[in-house]
Symmetry: C2
Subunit: 114 residues, 2 copies
């Protein structure tokens, strides 16, 4: 008998949660904003702009790369980072759907008790 899918049966949720987690730190948002206005940023420039230790920034960049949000092209000894096209589209679609649903005026209709 088929039951309603549990949490573990919705891989999309885990993927979207991972995307959201990549954005869930101010430093990573700052890095993304920098890459948005300066395509092709060098790691050292990012370290300067963010104001954290080089190893910390490197870790944040690693997290963003692992989530597929940015790409890094090696130009030894530097790495040239850029936003990955379309990487956030699934999250954009999710949030768009939630925003559309939240505008529905039928929220919180309490059942008639008479």
């Amino acid at each position: 008998m088929l039951s309603e899918p549990t949490l573990a049966e919705k891989p999309d949720d885990a993927r979207l949660a991972a995307l959201a987690k990549a954005l869930a730190h101010p430093a990573r948002l700052r890095i993304l904003a920098l890459l948005a206005r300066t395509p092709g940023c060098i790691g050292g420039d990012i370290v300067q702009a963010v104001g954290l230790a080089q190893s910390t920034v490197s870790e944040h960049l690693r997290i963003l790369k692992a989530a597929g949000v940015i790409e890094g092209q090696i130009d030894p000894p530097r790495v040239c980072y850029a936003l990955a096209p379309g990487a956030l589209a699934p999250l954009a679609a999710l949030i768009g759907a939630l925003e559309a649903a939240s505008s529905d005026p039928a929220c919180c209709v309490t059942p008639d008790k008479t």
Copy 2:
């Protein structure tokens, strides 16, 4: 002398990061999806749909409320939950801007070395 703002001087980043963090768990995404298609959900229904312990779901609901993503209307002894209109608009705007920037073909232009 004014320097480039550091991380701590961009409160928007922290707020947007907090919004993203609220979405950074599959269970919370599942709850939001449920509320999107069933406005006005009772806590007990959410517990059944998510498949976690009641106290765990309560904690996730608390996190979503604290982030302002959902609202809860008390109808004793139940609570009626719904998506908060416009709560994710700032995150939608951020992601939209990043997506627009990532489509820019000027990515990773390496400086001419001659």
